[in-house]
Structures are given as C-alpha cells and as structure tokens.
Symmetry: C3
C-alpha cells in the first residue's frame, strides 16, 4: 500500500490515508482503498473500521493536479472507480467511523459521508463539504442524496447550490459531523465510539444499519449515466479553463498555507 | 402588466409584485406571473430571476376578498391556474431567488417556497407560512411536500397542522428562509446571491438544481384531484361562513395595521 | 380496563395508562389500548384523544420482566399485537396528542411517536428514545421510518445506532418532542393544543393529517417479516443472556430510584 497505512487493533482496524501532506485522491489511492475495505469486509476478525488522515488534512479531495493530466480513458476509468468505491463504502457491512483530522472538501467529504459517524478536528480553519459547483465539477445524484440524508433536503439544497465549504461549527450545526473535538483526540474519540458499537450484538447492529440505510440505498445506484456526464463535462473548454485556474490558485495557496 | 413591474439587470431580471399595498393574489396576477416566468425561461439573455414585493408585504396570499365573489367556474379556473403556476415555478430552469420584503402568508409563501433561496426582511412583525388549516382552505399534497423539503417532515407536520404563521426568527430556525436582513437590503442581498450563482458554469449549475429537486418533483404533480377537492371544500357552508368571518376580520385589521 | 383509565371531556377523551408506577407494556395493555382506540375512532362524539401516563413515567417500555417468561407462541403473539397497535395508532383518524409525564424509553417512545404532538415533562432526569440496539432488541423498519420522520434521517441514524435515550432538552432539539413543560402542566398544555385543533374544520384537518403522513404510511407496513425476525432474535442465546442481565440490573435500579 503506497497511499494507506493500516493499524490493526484488538477487533477493529484503522485505515490512515498517507499520500503526501494533503491526501489528494488519485486513481492509485482509490484502488487501494477499495482493496483494503474489501479485505476488511471479509476478515471475520475485523469487526469495524476507522478511516482517518494526516494532521490538518483528512483529504483535500480529488488530486486535480494529477487528474488534469489524465487522458479521456483515464478520466473515465477514474470516475468509474471512484463511484464504485463510494458505493462499496456506503454498503460496508460493519461499523465504519471517520476521524476527520482536518480539511475535507469535495472528494474528502465524499469518503466521509459514507461512514456511520464523523468526528472532526475542531479549529476555525478546517473546512468540509461538497463544493463541486464552486469548482465546476458535476455532482452526482448519489452525492446529493447522501448530503440530503445527513443534512436534510433543505440545507443540502442550499449548500450544494452555492458549492459551500463548511467550517466545523457550521458542519456540526448542519448535522454533517457528529462532534468537534481537539485534533489530537479525534482518533481516540472515534475509537471509543467503535468500542461502544462493538458491545452491541453484531447481528442486531448490522441489521439496524441496513434498515437505517434502506431507503437511501434504494434511491442510490452507481449511476454510470451520471458518471459519464461528469466525465463529459470534464472536457468542456470553459470548465477546463476554470479548473486550470483553480488548480493554479490552489497550488499557490498550498505554498502560503501550512 | 397590471400587477407586476419588471426590472432588467445586466444578465438577470427582477419581478416586483405591485398589486396594491399587500399584493393579494387574484387570477390576473397568477396569469401575469405565469406569462412573465415563461418569457424569462425562454429569453437566453436572462440568466436568473428574483421575485420581490412591496415594503412590508411580499404577498398577503390569495385575495380572499375578490375570490369570495368568484362563481364555481371561476374558482375552479383560479385554483387550476394557481396550481399550474406553482408547478411552473417549481421547475423554473434558472436561478430563482425570493426577496421577501415583509408578510408572506399562505399564497405568498406558496410562491416563495418554489425558489432556490429566500431572504426575508427582518423585523418582529413579518410572518410567513402555510396557514391554510387556520383559514379553512384545503392544502394540497404538493405544498406539504414542499414544506417537508425545506423544513423536514417533522416540523412541516407540526406547523401545517396548526396553520402556523412563523415570525422571521422562527422561519430562519426552521429553514423556511435562508437569512433575515434589513428590509432596505433584502433585494440587494438577493442580487448578490444571484451574481454568485451566475459565476458558476450554467450547465453544471442547472443540472445540479435538477438533481437536488429530482425526488421532490417525482413526488409532486399538479394533482387535479387535490385541486378539485380544494374547490369543493370551498363551497362547504361551515367553511364559507368561517372564511367570510375571516375576510371581515382581515379587512378590519388592515385598517388598523399599516 | 385493568391497565387504562379513560376520562371523557366535552368533545375529546384522555387515555391514562395506569399499570403500576412505570406503565410497563404487557400483552394485556396492548390489547386494551387497541380496543380503546378503536372505540374512540368510531365514537362520533369523541373528536380527539390524548394519551398520558403516571407521574415520572409515561411508559417504561415493554415489560421485559413479564415478556421474558412468555413462551415462543406468546412472544410471537405479543410482537404481532404490538405491531398492529402501532399501525392502528399511526393511522388514527383524529387529533392524537401525547402528554409525556416522564420516562418514555423504547416501547413508551413507540407509542408516543405515532401521535401528532408530544409534550414532555421537563426535568433533567426524564429520558425518551428508541434504545432498542442498546438492549438487544431488533428494531423494525417501521420504527426507523417514524424516527426519521420526526428527527430527520441523519439524527435518526446516529441515535438509533447507539441506542440513545435522550434527555428532554436533547429530545426537544432533535424534534422528538414539541415542547418541555412542567410535569403538573403537561396534560393541560396537551388539552389546550387539542382545543386549538378542534376549532378547525374537522374534514379539512383530517385530510391534512392524511396528506402529511402519506409518504410515511406508504413506506411503512406492519412488516410481519420484520416481526418474525424480532421474535427469532429474541431466542438467540447471547441476546437472551444480555437481556436477562439487563432485566436484573433494571429490577435492581428500580429499587434504588423512585
């Protein structure tokens, strides 16, 4: 695993994304996350999974700097694989908690909203959200349904239309995260929650999770149509121009922020 | 246009309702709103629409004083046209923002909840909400679904059953309005939001709006059955008696309030 | 009626559960509630119903101390009858308000969430919620849908997965109860709400209630499959062992608390 570090605890595991300082998501990371979660689904000794990141960055989202160099086939492959990973995480049949160690925009938020709980590092600067509209990426129906599940349809509508990134307190008020905790405690608090879940009867716990997500999963599908649309809009000249400007500004910002 | 004033800005338009001081909705106003929004949907130079009202009144709702004189055919025609206008606004395929300049009960709220955002003039006195139950009008399934979209099903249930009109801070807490702002800034703030939307790629923005409303629109239909029911209950003697008393009390109140 | 006390007011009725101090729900109480609500549905002189309990306990939920002695057939019969009562209350075609006089966990909460409004006695100690996961009972899809209706899907997900019992202020913030009021005023406030409802045109009020619950009722069914599953898990040895320990701890706690 080049992009992930796995830590096995007594009866659950921690998956720590470790791709540079910001955990930008490229095809390799998608592939490795998919493999790891499949293994953990099958391993009977692993009763639950915590996904976490690096200090200050859970994940900065899609690695636009790498993706902008993908050719058409590579982009199609990437979006298909990312959609399948999303679907896999959404249906992960064990307790699954996100310990959000910092920024978690767009693709980072996509990973986090598939989990059962989200604990986020407090601090005024960290932001999370589905800001696709603001960066000219076509959001899928599945992500909209996920946001509506956690935030309610009204807030999901407002925040997605403006491509808003939420500060921690906004994310807490909106129901996007469960709690804000100090950065150096976020993993421990996620582990405490995991231990609480693992005290319940696993058959009852899992059947309950399935029922809680029943209507959500019925609405959602991998939607290859929608992914094709995202891939097609990817090449629209005006969008590409804006994205290149965004990548450039983002690269500059990285140099000045920590 | 007798009931509307249209202001064209660089790449969006403002529709200001101007039927007396309170913008009570009669058949003529419904017809004119429908024509104007159809024109704006087709005009490629108009990228978005803001709907606003008069100081202190966005719209007082249906003009019961006029409607109570309609005969059976006129009532049926009115409810059908109002239902079709609602459906048209709900599907308006461009950014659409309400600048709520004051009171917005019942029919006024119906117009507002079709838009993407609602900015409401602050001030303890202004009220907004679907108070149909309190004034003995049969609410349609479509309006209930709209309220549930913005407020969540639980609050929608509570407020609709009691026919509650919400003060600004209640409407803000419930998610019925996005923000409360000074009366003399409400239009400007709506325009700023419009300008923000118009910076996004229009194809991506519109596809996103459609996805956000997909499940809502699937639930909703013009429901002629429901409109027939509203029209039928309109003539029930006990209801008519209460409505006449309400119209009378409302007329008296208008003389004492501003 | 051994477990209920009925108080007839001018045009509505109060059903007070009175089975010991804590109103633990056994098969007899389920049967009597079902009979009483059927009579009140049919009685044209009764326009609405308020369900209430004893000071400090609305209902402690299922009477596990009695249920643990039921044989397989009795457990199946109990769960079927309780599911049918739930369904009956959910569809009760008149105003129906819960005056929650204290604790209302699990089965107590199940009764309360079928009503149109819930007023709960304030006081730091009273708790309400669907804590099935924490006590190793399989929750049904119908209860999950009900919780999602009142709390939204996100909060329902979080609270049900952890089997959380909510304190009054948490229940108020979550939308599970409408208001917190002093214990000795909770019935009076429920009656005031009932009187408000009974001022509306009954035909319009009831049609509105039906529309508000339309999508909810379409989702929900008695789900005998789910009840069979609950009954089957009831006999799983690990679960039974935990339940016996819980019953024991609960019996001990009763001796030390009021």
């Amino acid at each position: 695993m080049n992009t992930l570090e796995i830590i096995h605890k007594e009866n659950y595991s921690i998956v720590r994304m470790k791709r540079g300082k910001v955990n930008a998501i490229n095809h390799e990371m998608v592939r490795e996350l998919s493999i790891v979660f499949e293994e953990m689904e099958e391993a009977s000794s692993i009763k639950g999974v915590i996904l976490t990141g690096q200090p200050h960055y859970f994940s900065a989202g899609l690695d636009l700097i790498e993706l902008i160099r993908y050719n058409e086939e590579e982009i199609n492959d990437f979006f298909r694989a990312f959609g399948e990973l999303y679907d896999q995480l959404l249906r992960f049949p064990k307790p699954f908690i996100s310990a959000i160690t910092g920024h978690s925009p767009a693709g980072g938020c996509v990973l986090a909203i598939t989990s059962d709980n989200r604990y986020m590092a407090e601090g005024e600067k960290y932001r999370i959200g589905l800001n696709e509209v603001a960066v000219n990426i076509q959001i899928s129906q599945g992500l909209i349904d996920a946001y509506a599940f956690w935030l309610g349809e009204g807030l999901a509508n407002r925040y997605i239309l403006e491509g808003k990134l939420l500060l921690g307190p906004e994310a807490l008020a909106a129901g996007l995260v469960d709690d804000l905790v100090p950065l150096n405690e976020v993993l421990e608090i996620a582990e405490n929650k995991m231990k609480q879940y693992l005290k319940a009867d696993p058959e009852i716990w899992l059947a309950t999770k399935k029922k809680l997500r029943k209507h959500w999963l019925e609405k959602t599908s991998i939607e290859r149509g929608s992914l094709k649309e995202a891939a097609k809009l990817w090449w629209k000249p005006e969008i590409r121009e804006k994205m290149e400007a965004y990548v450039k500004s983002f690269s500059n910002k990285k140099n000045t922020s920590k």
